[in-house]
């Protein structure tokens, strides 16, 4: 199956391969495969360091050469699978047998573990070794998202995808449940959890004057967080993220809503990092995303809050057919009933009398860590997905600076063989001084072009990093600027990314460090 998944780049083909797998595979294997793809990992039986050490020993390559190989491949499990000598034996064990054997290694001494792993490697081909190594590490992500998996199971079993998502995100162990029970959601009550499709906004490209009468619109801050839906039904609480993934366990700060919210309530809003009622930068929220476990310092450093701005279900009634104004009124009723108002917060409405005044207010967006302003028509209904006309996001423009590329490094994963990670500098008198690192914003074609430039114009190398002739000029966009003692330039850019490749500009025309210092002074 993995091969089938690898054999295609197209989502539909992958889903077809998964459907095919779930229709034909060994019954006992299926729950293990689902567990694997959704990142439910068993305890890692052997440390990465040991695995690496044994692979180096067995393949008889020097450690530095193994490291070079890893740089080129971009994935440790795959590097090991490729450098090992060819297998001498074959094996026909089933997936769940491998997993159970690996689990049984816990508690054994290193010598016994080593014997088992080396024997396994010697009976698996490259592809199988790769999967085996992934099983050990538990990091099994090979271009199959939860969503894709859910769609495939939903199709294969003819069950609603929201129910499947809830079921597989619930608490279950692959060795204790059958595939059929998992689909049926025997371990969870899938009726309670289902979310509504989110209403999405278009970006406002012109001035809001074109929207007509200001009084017909509600303005709010556009928060830079994770869109979320909080569902409370029959005593149970569920938090869904915009990818229709259940993220309830990731945000314990919000669990008090299980008691505080009345049954039959669905809130729409933004998951943010909130400290003392103030929204923190997205970079702080990031520390909390996609984590399986959360420790105390993370809870302290990046506390979570929920800014709610819409109500989709009230007293068990679907409110999506009501106007924005009415939904807001009921939302305020619900929120006034909460005991704790510092974590679940009613996202404020911005009062303004004309568009010019709002434009003036929008300039201050960055001060409260918002990305601009949302405009919602007061008489609009809650649509499924994107519909032009009723919801607009009016984002502030990012800052930009012209820089020259001075270092390049190979990417990882899909881009492992291309120079895709770049470091940029601005001019400081006679010198160039590093100002930002960025690796996104170019097309595949442009990346190839830059890659070929790097290969021809590399001056020095430090491990995987190449110093290149300062020739290519890039416009870097960023969201903010701050003083920084850790950076040589004395300042740091927030969310730098490549806005465009300025082929029309020469390195002599880039910005100076003084330009940035002035910008910093103007924002303080």
């Amino acid at each position: 199956m993995i091969q089938q998944l690898e054999m295609s780049n197209k989502t539909n083909d992958k889903i077809a391969a998964l459907v095919d797998y779930f229709s034909t595979a060994d019954e006992q294997d299926k729950p293990f495969v689902i567990a694997m793809f959704t990142g439910k990992k068993p305890r890692r039986p052997v440390t990465t360091a040991l695995i690496k050490e044994w692979a180096i020993e067995l393949s008889a390559v020097p450690a530095w050469l193994f490291a070079e190989s890893y740089h080129s491949v971009g994935d440790l499990s795959e590097t090991i699978a490729l450098v090992l000598p060819p297998p001498r034996y074959t094996s026909d064990r089933k997936l769940h047998e491998w997993i159970n054997e690996l689990a049984a290694l816990n508690g054994k001494d290193d010598a016994a573990k080593k014997e088992y792993i080396l024997k396994a490697w010697d009976s698996l081909d490259t592809q199988e070794r790769f999967i085996f190594n992934k099983l050990i590490s538990g990091n099994f992500r090979i271009g199959v998202s939860n969503k894709m998996l859910v769609n495939a199971i939903s199709k294969q079993s003819d069950t609603e995808s929201n129910k499947i998502m809830h079921s597989i995100m619930g608490k279950w162990k692959p060795e204790e449940i059958t595939y059929q029970e998992l689909i049926a959601g025997a371990h969870v009550n899938t009726d309670n959890s289902w979310p509504y499709p989110f209403c999405l906004a278009y970006a406002l490209e012109s001035e809001p004057l074109s929207l007509g009468e200001p009084a017909a619109w509600q303005a709010e801050w556009k928060w830079d967080g994770i869109r979320g839906q909080i569902v409370k039904r029959n005593g149970e609480l569920f938090i869904w993220s915009r990818g229709e993934e259940l993220v309830t366990d990731q945000f314990p700060e919000l669990h008090f809503l299980q008691n505080d919210l009345p049954d039959g309530t669905v809130l729409d809003g933004e998951i943010l990092s909130v400290k003392d009622g103030n929204v923190q930068a997205f970079s702080i929220l990031q520390q909390r995303l996609n984590r399986k476990t959360i420790n105390k310092s993370q809870l302290n450093d990046a506390p979570i809050g929920f800014f709610t701005y819409d109500l989709l279900e009230y007293q068990g009634r679907d409110l999506r057919g009501e106007t924005m104004a009415e939904r807001r009124r009921l939302l305020e009723v619900i929120m006034s009933g909460l005991g704790n108002k510092d974590v679940a917060i009613l996202s404020p409405v911005i009062t303004f009398s004309d568009w010019d005044e709002l434009a003036e207010i929008r300039k201050g967006s960055r001060e409260n860590n918002s990305e601009g302003i949302m405009l919602k028509k007061l008489d609009s209904l809650y649509h499924s997905g994107r519909k032009r006309g009723d919801w607009w996001k009016w984002k502030i423009n990012p800052y930009t600076v012209d820089t020259v590329m001075i270092y390049a490094q190979k990417g990882s994963g899909r881009r492992a063989n291309f120079f895709t990670d770049y470091t940029f500098a601005v001019r400081d008198g006679e010198h160039l001084i590093t100002i930002a690192k960025a690796y996104s914003g170019l097309t595949d074609k442009e990346i190839k072009e830059v890659d070929s430039f790097v290969k021809k114009n590399a001056i020095e190398k430090f491990g995987p990093v190449r110093t290149v002739k300062p020739e290519l000029v890039f416009e870097i966009a960023f969201e903010g600027i701050a003083e920084s003692k850790r950076h040589k330039a004395g300042l740091a850019l927030r969310f730098p990314r490549i806005a465009r490749w300025r082929k029309d500009k020469k390195a002599a025309e880039i910005n100076t460090l003084d330009d940035l210092r002035q910008l910093l002074a103007s924002t303080l």
Partner: protein
């Protein structure tokens, strides 16, 4: 005095006053093979293997001054004995052996050690100085025997056939294409792009035993292609013509396909690690067989491979050349041909 030096025009033999695979115009270019990164237009004269001549005529022009030499025959140029030995890379590819006053130097161009069924098999040549490529000079590159890879390709083709998809293999027009044709011919018809058909005609005229293929023309029905195998060069893999094919499955044939990230990068449906370059064990066995005292490492993982050779006791040095960009260069040729 050393037999070869590395100059800004290419690899130079002062004693014989000629260049090997120069990238700037010179009087005499001794040519290892016909890939565009190893042979350029504009040299006054070329010396190459008999089977490289049709390629040069095809790609650089019919009016070139070309002297040819079969494998294992000696020619004296200004007192330097020059002979060609099979490199196993593509049809006609040669290692250039130079001998002067008992000093022997071999420039191998590109090479692979596994016999591919169509290029004359690689032959190790003992020498004092050896110039080696390092395209796949990392221990992660270990090829499966080609029979296994061809079986994978056949299985993939028949699977596509069942799903009513057209199998499109992406391969260099010179070398990989002929290798695929030779090894896959028989079961189903093979359709080839113009650039490949033109080269094939040249080879057949020169006496190469190449199975029959069908040139893709605008008149050819798209449904017909689905019954067979289509071979196109990399430059066309993302082109308009490919998009006009309904439900095509693309399979890239290249050593880079060994690594998953490269497979995904190329957005191909399948990748087959089939290379005309030596893999890691191939490079090492070839180099050891030369018993050379000094190995110059060119295009590829130059510094890594050279460092490793020094560590295992083979004196080695990195050299900067302009080789190793077959794909980009092929693109140029295709644009010219089009």
């Amino acid at each position: 005095m050393a037999l070869i030096t590395f100059t800004n025009k290419g690899i130079y033999c002062k004693q014989g006053d000629f260049y090997i695979d120069p990238w700037r115009p010179v009087d005499l270019a001794v040519t290892t093979h016909g890939h565009a990164d190893h042979v350029k237009w504009g040299n006054k004269a070329y010396l190459c293997h008999d089977l490289t001549k049709p390629i040069l005529n095809q790609r650089l022009g019919a009016d070139l001054t070309i002297q040819t030499l079969p494998y294992n025959e000696e020619l004296s140029i200004n007192g330097v004995k020059v002979s060609l030995f099979p490199a196993g890379h593509v049809i006609g590819s040669s290692q250039i052996r130079l001998e002067y006053k008992g000093e022997i130097c071999v420039i191998s161009g590109d090479y692979k050690v596994e016999y591919d069924g169509i290029s004359t098999e690689f032959e190790p040549v003992k020498c004092h100085t050896f110039v080696s490529e390092s395209t796949f000079g990392l221990p992660i590159y270990k090829w499966l025997p080609q029979d296994i890879v061809f079986q994978q390709i056949r299985d993939w083709v028949s699977d596509n056939h069942d799903k009513l998809k057209t199998s499109v293999l992406v391969a260099y027009s010179l070398g990989k294409a002929q290798r695929l044709i030779k090894n896959l011919a028989g079961d189903v018809p093979i359709y080839v792009h113009n650039s490949i058909a033109n080269l094939n005609e040249g080879f057949i005229r020169a006496g190469v035993d190449l199975p029959e293929t069908i040139r893709i023309t605008p008149e050819l029905k798209k449904e017909e292609l689905q019954k067979g195998i289509v071979i196109v060069p990399p430059a066309l893999a993302d082109g308009k013509w490919m998009k006009s094919l309904q439900s095509a499955a693309t399979g890239v044939c290249s050593g880079w396909m060994q690594v998953r990230a490269s497979r995904r990068w190329r957005s191909a449906d399948a990748g087959f690690a089939l290379s005309d370059h030596a893999d890691w064990p191939g490079l090492l066995s070839a180099i050891k067989a030369t018993e050379a005292e000094k190995v110059f490492v060119t295009h590829g993982f130059v510094s890594t491979f050279s460092k490793y050779l020094n560590e295992i006791g083979i004196a080695s040095e990195e050299v900067v050349t302009r080789y190793g960009n077959e794909e980009e260069e092929e693109k140029e040729i295709l644009t010219k041909e089009a």
